[in-house]
């Protein structure tokens, strides 16, 4: 397709060495999807910050936001791989509900002795989640039964078992405090806190809640280390590209991107630090996100999942064991659904029959808002995470604003449709 208008370089070596605003703009346009999503999240945050008169970014609310939505994002990580490999999993909400019920029964009702320890129970639950994923994945991978049908069946089965376990409509609790820490706990401040402004003490000798300013220093240090690591690895990858003579994105764009991301991260970390520090569940989520970014971007197994979703037959004829890979994707999904179930139960402090009900749709919506293709082969972890946060911030912001739950659904539906329409429009324009 070469024509005289576009001189074709001999190899991929440094096409645009010159770095001007024009290049920056064109790079911005080509990465519109990626940046657009993050900009959309920021715009939505700013919007709700304004309409809730500043409540959204209040440290207490930020902690709530994370605790309310982390299970969606955790499950979205698994769902991304499922959708990239060309499948769907409708059972995640039911599996999460079932695992929550199972965990509660093991910890509170059944006399299991040492096995009712929260940590032991959690590990057993994750393994059972993996087994559920394997069970569903087996039919999908080795018998080629459409994932929609298998997981629709799973959705009914595990919701049923969840309700049966809990004995009809009752809830089981309260769960031990050690378990609840998974959702509502904060990391311990091993460094110690730094008091910037001492709290006001009233005449009665009691401190006034919310007065003064004390920083959770462990949180600040973790935040700084994370941001520095982010900048360092970004710069190192850049250097490596340049050293090999390949073009990197324009430096100005790189700097702006790094600065904006870092500033946003540091702002959030600071807000957490003025409250009680980083929620434990946020740390768990952060580690998982980093792991999944690494697996999808850098590891062979991630590459193979994308290839399988793009063209399963070609992948198979390239020596990829597509059946086994599909099975692994569903096992992973099962484990993450179980983790999601544990997080929900820990947050509620009890297991309820409706735990996780309908959350599969939020999870799937997050992945699609994040730019994944329903046809498979396309989608990014960061996209799914940002998509999950967009859903979460909208839930949270609209609740604070007092928008009726019914209308919240309408708005979320419109955002999902809008994001995918934007995607398709972009693709056709290119």
């Amino acid at each position: 397709m070469s024509t005289e208008s576009a001189p074709v370089p001999k190899s991929g070596v440094a096409e645009d060495v010159q770095q001007g605003p024009r290049v920056a703009v064109s790079a911005l346009v080509t990465n519109l999807r990626e940046y657009g999503l993050i900009l959309a999240l920021i715009a939505i945050m700013v919007f709700f910050q304004y309409t809730t008169s500043g409540t959204l970014f209040k440290p207490v609310n930020l902690s709530n936001l994370v605790q309310q939505n982390s299970f969606i994002i955790v499950m979205a990580l698994g769902m991304l791989l499922v959708i990239v490999s060309g499948h769907i999993d409708l059972s995640v909400g039911s599996v999460a509900g079932f695992i929550g019920a199972l965990a509660a029964m093991m910890m509170v009702i059944w006399p299991l002795g040492p096995f009712s320890n929260p940590l032991v129970v959690s590990i057993i639950c994750l393994i059972i989640g993996g087994a559920i994923g394997a069970g569903q994945g087996y039919w999908i991978a080795y018998h080629r039964i459409p994932s929609f049908i298998v997981t629709l069946a799973g959705m009914l089965i595990f919701r049923g078992i969840c309700q049966a376990l809990l004995g009809g409509g009752s809830s089981v609790g309260p769960l031990p405090a050690g378990f609840k820490a998974l959702s509502s706990g904060f990391i311990p401040d091993v460094i110690g806190s730094l008091t910037l402004i001492p709290p006001v003490v009233n005449a009665a000798g009691k401190t006034i809640v919310g007065s003064g300013l004390t920083l959770h220093m462990t949180t600040i240090v973790i935040g700084l280390v994370a941001v520095l690591a982010y900048a360092y690895f970004g710069l190192r990858a850049r250097r490596s590209r340049e050293r090999h003579g390949y073009q990197a994105e324009p430096f100005t764009l790189f700097v702006v991107k790094t600065l904006v991301t870092s500033a946003l991260a540091l702002f959030l970390v600071y807000q957490f630090a003025t409250y009680r520090g980083l929620p434990i569940v946020l740390v768990v989520m952060g580690v998982l996100i980093a792991l999944f970014v690494f697996v999808t971007k850098r590891m062979t197994v991630g590459r193979r999942i994308y290839a399988m979703g793009g063209n399963a037959k070609a992948a198979q004829l390239s020596g990829i064991k597509t059946e086994r890979l599909t099975l692994m994707v569903f096992i992973n999904m099962g484990v993450l659904s179980a983790l999601g179930g544990l997080i929900i139960a820990a947050r509620l402090g009890q297991a309820v029959p409706a735990a996780g009900l309908g959350s599969e749709l939020d999870v799937i919506a997050a992945v699609f808002i994040g730019g994944a293709s329903a046809m498979g082969g396309v989608g990014q972890v960061i996209g799914a995470v940002v998509g999950g946060f967009i859903m979460g911030v909208m839930n949270n912001g609209m609740s604070i604003m007092g928008v009726n739950v019914d209308w919240q659904q309408v708005v979320k539906g419109l955002v999902l449709l809008g994001a995918v329409v934007f995607d398709v429009y972009n693709k056709n324009k290119a």
Binding site: M1, E4, G12, A307, A314, Q316, S318, G319
Partner: protein, 510 residues
């Protein structure tokens, strides 16, 4: 003197970053068969899409004058209303609907939305008769072969009162016999006054039916030749912009020890378990040797190759594979690749490429360990590998980050080849390596094959184009009905000899 039915003047069509057509002119006279030829990616299909309104008026420059009127087609419906019908390379039929339903799809004889099936089927029968297809209108499309499906497409065009019929490589996936029938049909249409534009790679077909040939190269019209001036050499020269004295690169074969031996290889059909598809095949290939497998469609060549390659085809596979004298296990694709066997598919879009990913990721897919350590991919090493193979196989693209789905057939084929070369096989099985690609790219593929042989690889080429086999191989096996029915040195072989072996083999088999 015939009048001009269609004139396209100074058509220029730009895609972001690429000028696909630049001041193309095409003038077609009433009642002629006008061939349009050019390399893949030269802009033929784009030109036809401009004409039929797939790219609506306003998205290109230039004017289209059809029957004296300047036309501004906004979509396919506009052009079809004027009697311009295009039949795309990839057929647009619904497999699970009947012939009649397909022909009148979107155009049914109906009253208040209720379909009059009798009227549809009667008309369908009449149309099928016209194109010489003896099938019940109620037959499902999925139950008839590609050749007949092509005829259904043409019948569908006739139902739209076609005056100008555009065929985009209609014979690309047809057998010799079906192709001949199709060409005869075009000639018959010509007698009835229907004008045709025929896009084709096959120069012998053009020779046979075309009244005029327009050659397009790099989005420009090179020349239009009247019937008298049409010659293969002239067309090839114009197409590639240089003369191809030799259509096959010369090489000095250095043939060594036997690398691959297949002994008594038998395979049964995956669905019809009683049918034996491959019946006890023995072949061997030496180091540095290019071995051809000739045969007609359905001889079982692809089935043989795919069953050999990790049991990707068939059931109850038996037989022995020896590599350098030692038996090897090829029961999965992974194992076959590990032992140094690679299979380059005949259908690169379905089995060869991830079309929604870029060149780099496609090239390394079969050998990811080769660019990774502890399962972590080294991005820089991968990029270097991709650029290396892009240069080696001369893939024409702006960078290795171009989607393979946007490449021309020849470049796609080079990506698939690169993928398998990077897997570093000892034995390379190439199934129809030049199908659907243009003359220039074919030569490049032949050059790559010759180079690989000189590097000591053992190569098996499956091809339906006999001149190609004669031109590039050292030895030819002839296959028919699942058996090897002949073996000859390429220097002794001829098309006749191969055909004779097939015919004799048929006698034996029955």
């Amino acid at each position: 003197m015939a009048s001009t039915i269609l004139e396209m003047r100074d058509i220029t069509k730009t895609f972001p970053g690429v000028k696909a057509l630049s001041n193309v002119n095409l003038s077609v006279e009433e009642g002629e068969i006008h061939a349009v030829v050019g390399e893949n990616g030269a802009g033929k299909s784009t030109l036809m899409k401009v004409l039929s309104g797939v790219y609506p008026s306003g998205t290109y420059d230039g004017e289209i004058i059809y029957r004296g009127d300047e036309c501004h087609f906004k979509g396919i419906h506009d052009s079809e209303r004027r009697g311009i019908v295009i039949i795309h390379q990839e057929l647009a039929l619904v497999p699970m609907l009947s012939i009649a339903e397909n022909i009148f799809l979107g155009n049914e004889h109906a009253r208040y939305g209720v379909i009059d099936w009798n009227a549809n089927e009667t008309r369908t029968s009449a149309l099928l008769k016209k194109v010489g297809l003896k099938e019940d209108p109620k037959t499902l499309i999925t139950n008839i072969g590609v050749g007949k499906q092509q005829l259904v497409e043409i019948a569908k065009a006739l139902s739209k009162e076609v005056q100008l019929l555009i065929l985009d490589e209609p014979t690309a996936s047809l057998s010799e016999k079906d192709s001949q029938a199709l060409l005869d049909l075009l000639l018959e249409f010509k007698r009835q006054g229907i004008t045709s534009i025929l896009i084709s790679h096959k120069l012998n077909e053009i020779n046979r039916v075309a009244d005029k040939v327009t050659i397009i190269r790099d989005g420009r019209t090179i020349e239009t030749l009247p019937k008298g001036d049409i010659s293969e050499d002239r067309i090839i020269t114009s197409m590639v912009g240089r003369s191809l004295d030799d259509r096959y690169p010369s090489r000095e074969p250095e043939i060594g020890e036997i690398v691959l031996q297949v002994r008594n290889w038998s395979v049964y059909h995956p669905i019809h378990a009683e049918r034996q598809v491959i019946k006890g095949i023995d072949i061997d290939v030496r180091k540095g040797e290019v071995v051809g497998i000739a045969g007609l469609m359905g001889a079982g060549r692809t089935e043989f190759a795919m069953s050999l390659f990790g049991r990707s085809y068939g059931r109850r596979i038996s037989g022995e594979v020896l590599l350098n004298g030692k038996p090897i296990d090829v029961s999965s694709v992974g194992k076959a690749v590990e032992h140094g066997i690679a299979y380059v598919t005949e259908d690169r879009k379905t089995y060869g490429l991830n079309l929604i990913d870029h060149i780099k990721h496609n090239i390394t897919l079969a050998n990811l360990p080769g660019v990774s350590r502890h399962s972590v991919i080294d991005d820089m090493r991968e990029l270097a590998v991709a650029n290396d193979y892009k240069a080696k196989t001369n893939i024409r693209s702006s960078s290795v980050y171009q989607m393979t789905g946007n490449l021309s057939g020849g470049n796609q084929q080079k990506v698939v080849l690169s993928k398998w070369l990077f897997a570093n096989p000892e034995v390379l099985i190439l199934d129809e390596p030049t199908r659907g690609i243009d003359v220039g790219a074919k030569y490049e593929i032949y050059t790559i094959i010759a180079r690989l042989a000189s590097e000591g690889k053992a190569i098996i080429v499956i091809s339906s184009e006999m001149p190609e086999l004669l031109g590039i191989t050292d030895r030819i096996y002839v296959m028919n009905e699942g058996r090897i029915v002949g073996e000859m040195a390429a220097s002794d072989a001829s098309q006749e000899k191969i055909m004779r072996a097939i015919v004799r083999g048929e006698g034996k088999a029955s």
